[in-house]
Symmetry: C2
Subunit: 252 residues, 2 copies
């Protein structure tokens, strides 16, 4: 029934993965704005025409990288979701899994943001866009799930005029704000800032949760040492990798 295929599906997928991996490495080394189809082709054991058989253009490749990035983040999110603890702590862990991802893979974090721009979406293939939608939903369900657990055990109550989706988005949004504004920061270039991303993410999360009345409130319980221990148990490899890069999460 299927049309004749002279090239097997597996080899094709492998080739595609090679291109994506090479492109990510180039972004790491040169920055996303210096990613070039020429450079990708030069690093890959096949020709320009072949690369363009996999990706209809540069933007399509970018969205493929973004999709790969979301899968990586999704794995971290699901670990936070599955953690045995109270719902508020799990949401805090989820926010920190987002931070770990942004610090460990800045090129992936940036690719996802970049791929959200109209100019990328407008030039990517239908199929890649669909995959992007599905992966986005996957991310949100982890957040959604934790909120629902909080509602179920009464540690959290819906504020007036807000539904589960809005509450979930509020969490995503404040984490995104702090991480996007601070995680790329280079050592306070002009002495300009004493803001440390992990500390501010911790503060913003707790202020928001307190504002929601998500128990236990900060005044009733310090979540700080608990967080350090939980992070170590959930993300041992990731934290070790960060240590190698000379970057440790520091709450003080």
């Amino acid at each position: 029934m299927t049309p004749p295929r002279l090239l097997d599906e597996n080899a094709l997928q492998e080739r595609e993965q090679t291109i994506i991996t090479v492109a990510i490495t180039l972004i790491q080394r040169l920055g996303i704005e210096n990613l070039t189809m020429d450079k990708v082709v030069a690093q890959v054991p096949f020709s320009k025409g072949t690369v363009y058989k996999h990706f209809i253009g540069k933007e399509d490749l970018l969205l493929a990288i973004s999709n790969h990035a979301i899968k990586v983040l999704s794995d971290l999110f699901s670990r936070a979701y599955l953690f045995k603890g109270c719902s508020r702590e799990r949401m805090l862990l989820l926010n920190f899994s987002y931070l770990i991802y942004a610090i460990l893979y800045p090129e992936l974090f940036q690719s996802v943001i970049c791929a959200k721009s109209q100019s990328v979406i407008g030039k990517a293939s239908e199929q890649r866009l669909n995959e992007n939608d599905e992966l986005g939903v996957e991310l949100l369900t982890a957040i959604h799930g934790i909120v629902n657990d909080g509602l179920a055990d009464d540690s959290l109550t819906l504020p007036e005029y807000m539904n589960v989706q809005q509450l979930s988005f509020a969490n995503w949004s404040i984490a995104y704000g702090a991480i996007a504004l601070l995680s790329g920061e280079v050592e306070s270039c002009s002495g300009r800032t004493d803001l440390i991303v992990e500390r501010e993410l911790f503060n913003h999360s707790n202020l928001l949760f307190d504002g929601m009345g998500w128990k236990p409130l900060t005044k009733d319980k310090k979540h700080c040492t608990e967080l350090t221990i939980a992070l170590q148990s959930l993300f041992p490899q990731e934290l070790a990798l960060m240590k190698e890069k000379g970057r440790q999460l520091n709450f003080s």
Copy 2:
């Protein structure tokens, strides 16, 4: 003492402004990623070489646009700062002035974000970077000032482990998160989202302020109609412009 100048300073400044204005119009029409020095030169009554006398490169032009954008935002911020009202309401107004700016001038909002990237900063002129720093400080002092007013009249108390700078940043960060994630949204393309940026900005702000214990708390006072009236008095022209574009702020 000053070196001889055959071209007067005024004419030079005017020429520079012309280039910036043309570039902004091009970004509006074509998107920032399609801005081209060739296109700018084509729309301007002088040659490529002359444009490059004003801007050492494309990135320098981009930072000049970003600086212009910050000045526009700064004006809106200072109006919110000067509003006669309680500190919490003024901060809410400041957040909404940020939203109005992002909706009314999406190309400026995007330019500022874009100009924060390492690749732009790395290629801009020293002078333009200094101006950027100064303008950034100007923005933060408005926020800072409102927080200080809140502390002064005891409607706000510093949370443990947070200083004024951190509290100010928390506000900036949550506003940025909501606006960056939602303000560019096109009419929920796949029925995917019921999130309306003005409503969520309102919610997130109130949750954060409540978490800080910034009085009057939401439970003691609805800030919604008050906000609509204050916005109308502070930003009449801007709201009229939005209406022309068919975009009205809608809390419901």
